[in-house]
């Protein structure tokens, strides 16, 4: 019920007096109401629930998290095994 997925805003327009947008979800394009994210810009990612954008993704926060994980992955690669004692599969971070 509270499912929401991130999509990239590719167009902003008005319909019936409401701010609306077209969002691209990895190739699938759909419309959403943008009234609750009034400052959103084309190119930003918004989280959409039941036809409404409810948050603009904070890309800086996301980047900070990835940096922490990249550190984890690097540390893991140095240890050479995972928690199950299996050889760790190296994958490029990012």
């Amino acid at each position: 019920m509270c499912l929401a997925i991130p999509g990239k805003v590719i167009a902003i327009y008005e319909q019936n007096g409401l701010k609306m947008g077209r969002l691209d979800y990895a190739g699938t394009v759909n419309t959403a109401c943008l009234e609750y994210v009034p400052d959103v810009q084309i190119g930003q990612y918004a989280l959409v629930h039941a036809g409404f954008a409810i948050s603009v993704l904070d890309e800086e926060e996301a980047r900070k998290t990835y940096a922490v994980w990249d550190e984890l992955v690097r540390a893991a690669a140095e240890e050479g095994t995972d928690i199950f004692g299996m050889p760790f599969e190296k994958s490029p971070p990012g």
Binding site: C2, A26, A32, C33, H49, I54, D58, A62, E89
Partner: protein, 378 residues
Amino acid sequence: MKYLEEYRKPEIVRHLVQEIRAITTRPWMIMEVCGGQTHSILKNGIDQILPKEIELVHGPGCPVCVTPLEQIDKALAIARRPEVIFTSFGDMLRVPGSREDLFMVKSAGGDVRVVYSPLDAVQLARENPHRHVVFFAVGFETTAPNNAMAVWQAHREGLRNFSILVSHVLVPPAMKALLSSPRNRVQGYLAAGHVCTVMGWEEYEPIAAQYHVPIVVTGFEPVDILEGVLMTVRQLERGEARVENQYSRVVRREGNRPAQELIRKVFEIAPRKWRGIGEIPASGLRLRPEFRAYDAEVIFDLGELQVEEPAICISGLVLQGLKKPDECPAFGRQCTPQTPLGATMVSSEGACAAYFAYHRQRAEEVREGAEAGKAADA
């Protein structure tokens, strides 16, 4: 897909599990409130990879599951009327009322339609001026601003043939009700990320302080959930009880102000019944008096309905985290997603349906055991 794949990487998952294992010194019971998280936990086997000391219990955060039986019966009564186009999100159609569900009403000729957004229901009202369009407004704080916008828009355009059947519930009062129960076993909470996207997390701070439980606002991907568990366990091990935000790429402390404003303009706080739990004071929303013209319950005046719940179903205990789905005598036998006795088996976010789908092996063992039992009795 950007902002999803990064949160599903197995090496990060493994690392977080390792980290949780490293800091856990004793058993802890953590509740994920949100049904979407329950689904993700079971689908990804997160409950299986955590150290055995960490038990996840599933909370009441499935709007489909907690919508009271009388609201479902009211929806059915309205949907049967020839002048009505009854609209809903798809997951409400199979929820059993006392005797039937919305699919049965549809197959008997009722005009029941699934919409993606409540604004689609408003559009149907514009296009069908001689019919009355009702939208089934079910959900938590995540869905409330969208339904508020539909009413606001209908009001602004002067549409007289649109109304909503409201069954909105709020998460914090339910968390407080569970924590106040003498049977409470929950020591830490993963708070529902998308509810907090709308509402922020300020209202959780007094709960964390009063009941001395850590509350961590958490997202939905495997990495999000494990990071939420890690943050919760870290607090529990240190004896702390604060609100933290794991889902910082989406959730801000103050939430979404414009969405909160419209909720307040259109709805007011009211007591609500929760299916399987009972009435919780100030735990839901109803339309404000100035929007009563859009209240389907007022328009169709259905009065009090007599309802009957199946006696064998333990969904109420499951919703309160007091029982696991496979502890129910009907689980996988009389009660399956094809023949659900309770709403927790209907919605994919219901704990019973998630157990059935992802603990299938266990469900099959239960069935085989039952059949073997029958054969032995014969």
